[in-house]
Symmetry: C2
Subunit: 353 residues, 2 copies
DNA sequence: CTGTTAGCGCATTCAT
DNA sequence: ATGAATGCGCTAACAG
């Protein structure tokens, strides 16, 4: 019921506890004779010995576990980043606790709390933070506590805290997407915004504004609606826009999930993409290439960002006790416009008339 | 750097270590005066105290962590089940380590190993096991070791081991999907199989055979191709089937990912769904309802299965030391055919001619 | 190269 | 109702 302990392995191998530890602990440099080593290994194998990471962690004050807190497990954006994290972590011998906060700040807080109790070596926040003062203050406080326990925090989307971050170039990507539409000749471009209070939304909206401004097009607030980064929300936002009667020939949805919602609604109304309406998304989640038409979108290097976050964490961990590794606090990963078939010059579609 | 310990809280609160433990440990029943309790709580709060779950776990020989091992993080089937698991676990105060094995048995083994070292309370296997003797033997061995350390293992897809399981009715669902096609008048129904060595594939294939048999249709092996449960694989399998020239009017893909691959290929060949070809999937992952046409598929209660797995684990944990809770070893969760627009009676489509 | 020892932070007897 | 003492399994000095 309670498994085998090192003491038992030592006894079975006819050596002391210390010696057994030395051969079974991969990070131990202490020399051990080949013969003794073999004996201990054999004893461990025959007893199905498995180190107790709790005891080890208690002793060395450091575990090999990370926590990744994501907004929504089912969103391909998040689970792809999470996969980048878990793969990179596993390669370094770390396990990753993945937590789905359901975009609930309180649940997020509870998860950080639990992770802290487990004395994780680091927590990665995957998903933008909220803009509110109170949220940022609470987060700052929480991270300070985390650090007092020796853990590091990393952001993989803007968080507005002073923590190290590996984030996509949201603003630049949104700018390029807008430019693309402008270059095709669109002048009335609707924008489907993410949740208002989320920093990621804000950055992408900014990029949209940049693009409009550069083209000398005035921002028309009636062409902007929030879709909460979900398919249903995106669809609902488009319904509002279309029903409002203000004409537009293209839609820039600030994430792919909402773009999918738009596709569904356009199809339901018999509006052809891109003939009647051009559509651009953001993220380049895997599924959008299977849709008809394949979606033009902005590629975010999701797995790469996840892996970079882990590398960052590992570097921080190694540097502990020395000075922090050089380099910027925030690394911005370039995003890239992927033109597929959902965009074209404005036609004389129904939406225009 | 090393955080606050209970000892410090006790000192700050002017009480003994034992007393501090009694008020801070939620599972402790020991009476403590309100005044002392308040003092300790205040001290803990002002010091930002957070229990060390490692020390606690070492002492009580039990952690509040589960491990969920999934085949592929990015597949909506798996991440949806995983979300059911993490949510249910969090509600019970447990954290879940989610591991993506990339369908690699060796990686799966390493993850179980790591989880065991962390002394997780339970391991949930999400995704079918392999049929091979060696795999099943190794798995049996591994589970035995896990249990010797007090952990429980649960399967959320057929595993062919004697472990408790909460699995979908794969065979029945596949049977119903086949019946549906037969009832529409199809007689030549192609089947896109999952990976051959995976038990889930085998169950679904069996259901397909059941349906054919009930309808008096002989199984034609030339109408079966394996697609490995991925979009690309499904598409490639369909290419082979189509190019082989053996006519058929409907396709039953044994998971939605492969059905999506089929849709893409049919579209590329100008074959209309369902006019030229009917198509059925399996799982009812969220995206398939957004496709054009929305896919007819077999719904698997994914989150429910995840939650059931956690409930099962919790019951096993509570019962430890007593007799195991009554009930079947394997609980089968009903699946349900969801008819959407990708199926219709056979037309005179090109595939037939 | 091997062995002895101390103590990580906590829950839990056993006293009081 | 509170406190003192013990040990979970392990690593890392320190001795030899």
């Amino acid at each position: 019921m309670s498994g085998t302990s090192l003491t038992e392995v030592a006894k079975a191998g006819g050596v002391s506890l210390a010696t057994a530890s030395r051969v079974l602990n991969p990070h131990n440099e202490h020399p051990v004779s080949d013969e003794v080593r073999a004996r201990v290994l054999a004893a461990a194998a025959s007893l199905n010995y498995s180190v107790n990471a709790l005891a080890r962690g208690l002793k060395v004050k450091r575990t090999r576990v990370f926590a990744a807190i994501v907004h929504d497990f089912r969103d391909p954006f998040f689970n792809t980043v999470a996969r980048g994290v878990t793969n990179a972590a596993e390669a370094a011998g770390y396990l990753t606790v993945v937590c789905d906060s359901s975009r609930d700040p309180d649940k997020e807080r509870r998860y950080v709390q639990l992770a802290q109790e487990q004395r994780v070596a680091g927590v990665l926040f995957v998903g933008g933070g909220l803009t509110s003062r109170s949220y940022r203050e609470a987060m700052r406080q929480q991270i300070a506590t985390l650090q007092s326990y020796g853990a590091h925090a990393i952001a993989l989307e803007p968080r507005g805290s002073r923590m190290p971050a590996e984030i996509p170039d949201n603003r630049g990507g949104a700018r390029r997407a807008t430019d693309h539409l402008v270059e095709l000749g669109h002048e009335r471009i609707a924008f489907i915004d993410g949740p208002e209070q989320v920093l990621t939304s804000r950055e992408r909206r900014r990029g949209y504004q940049d693009g409009l401004e550069a083209a000398g097009i005035a921002l028309d607030e009636r062409l902007v609606a929030s879709g909460g980064f979900t398919e249903e929300g995106g669809r609902a936002a488009l319904v509002r826009l279309l029903d409002a009667g203000v004409p537009f020939t293209a839609i820039f949805a600030s994430n792919d999930a909402m773009a999918i919602g738009c596709m569904v609604e356009l199809r339901a109304r018999g509006l052809a993409i891109p003939h009647d309406m051009s559509l651009v998304g953001f993220d380049d989640i895997q599924t959008v290439r299977w849709f008809d038409p394949p979606l033009t979108t902005v590629r975010v290097p999701m797995e790469e960002i996840g892996a970079a976050g882990v590398a960052r964490l590992l570097a921080l961990l190694d540097a502990d006790g020395g000075e922090p590794p050089g380099g910027r606090l925030v690394n911005v990963h370039p995003t890239e416009l992927v033109v597929r078939a959902s965009t074209a010059p404005p036609g004389r579609g129904k939406a225009r008339s």
